[in-house]
Symmetry: C2
């Protein structure tokens, strides 16, 4: 199960899922290169969280790339005129993709990860997508990942010239949120360093009511653990 | 053959191929949205060229996106320490991908085009890739485009929710450089507005010796036309 000294690029959002994904990659022996995007998101706190997580879990290098997806808009996360939904009942099961979906975000993030990976000659890319306790985003599903991996192996000189074959790893894609939290806890992830809320207040406290907070709180509750971060309201348990 | 009032996103580099691609899209009746990247390329003149071309041929809007691919490096176009090859004999036929290849560039550009297209509800994306008179870049080939198109239709809410199916148009992919030039000339493209050189001098004059200049000059010669741009040396004919 170990991949000693193999390089991997790991996408890091600062959230719980990508922190766990990094811990899994590290536990397999990968030399990890963390990649985070300053993409015009409302919740810029996540970039600070990504820094803390990568320092704590250990990466060879952590890079933060600027790409202003707010220029395109179309998401509650990048356009302040679109409201972040609160207290939704059907998290990921309504068949509706919520307004927190950011158009083509994971395609853009994976493409940039691919660029860096090719330069590093790292053929392993990790992304913390999850298709179980999730918000219904299309670019978190296995079908998308498989299609992107195929594209990556046609797009790049390193693959075409036979230096390697890119693999997109999605270690938590089938886990429930509580399984993710239990996996990360076992691997030493300190979830107090992570940030999930789509709509934090000025002091950085989470709302507890957006999809991301609700999935997180549900996950901690099901795992029988207390979420160590601060919420505006008293912690929902 | 007309697609009246349908919106399309057209990738514009400022070069000859993308100018011709825009002219083809316009001739089919598409309402075009031009997208250009300031990605840390040496030849920043191409952004000015993209502006001229989009003004001249007519777009609804022209957007320039910043994404610093020089942070990743790995290309003679983004890393000044890697030399731009000159006077290469086997243009695109050597089986070797030249150092002007930019890792994952077209994957990143198409991903961003997809993001904007989704927000615009434009299901048509045009890219001026060419796999005939070209430098051997893997992300200019039809296999890559087909794989990306499939990925796009799995990645996006608009596709998953059935609002449309994304199509990546590559109208010049099979044309020779001279066919591209003759097609554009017929459609009114003014090639004096375009910029192709990978290594222009401070006055913006093209070198005439890099792959891009040589393919361009060969194309004009084969088309029986004179290239209207200025070269550092006397025009090769």
């Amino acid at each position: 199960m170990t991949e000693k000294n193999k390089k991997a690029v790991v996408l890091l959002s600062g959230g719980l899922d990508s922190a766990t994904t990094l811990a899994v990659a590290r536990s397999k022996g990968f030399q990890c290169y963390g990649l985070t995007f300053r993409y015009g998101q409302r919740h810029r706190l996540e970039i600070e969280a990504a820094k803390r997580v990568s320092d704590f879990l250990g990466v060879i290098e952590h890079r933060i790339i600027d790409i202003d997806l707010a220029q395109f808009g179309g998401s509650a996360l990048t356009d302040p005129s679109i409201e972040v939904p609160k207290d939704r009942v059907d998290l990921g099961n309504s068949g509706q993709i919520p307004p927190s979906y950011v158009p083509a975000r994971n395609t853009i993030f994976l493409s940039c990860a691919l660029a860096w990976a090719e330069v590093l000659e790292a053929f392993d890319i990790f992304i913390g997508v999850n298709a179980t306790d999730y918000s219904g985003y299309p670019d978190c599903r296995a079908e998308f990942i498989v299609a992107f991996e195929k594209t990556a192996n046609l797009a790049t000189a390193a693959a075409i010239e036979g230096r390697g074959k890119f693999k997109i790893h999605t270690p938590i894609i089938k886990m429930s949120k509580s399984e993710i939290i239990l996996t990360g806890t076992k691997l030493g992830v300190d979830y107090s360093m992570t940030h999930s809320c789509y709509d934090p207040d000025d002091e950085g406290r989470s709302c507890g009511r957006c999809d991301s907070c609700r999935l997180r709180l549900k996950g901690f509750a099901e795992a029988g653990l207390k979420d160590p971060i601060e919420y505006r309201m008293s912690n929902k348990e």
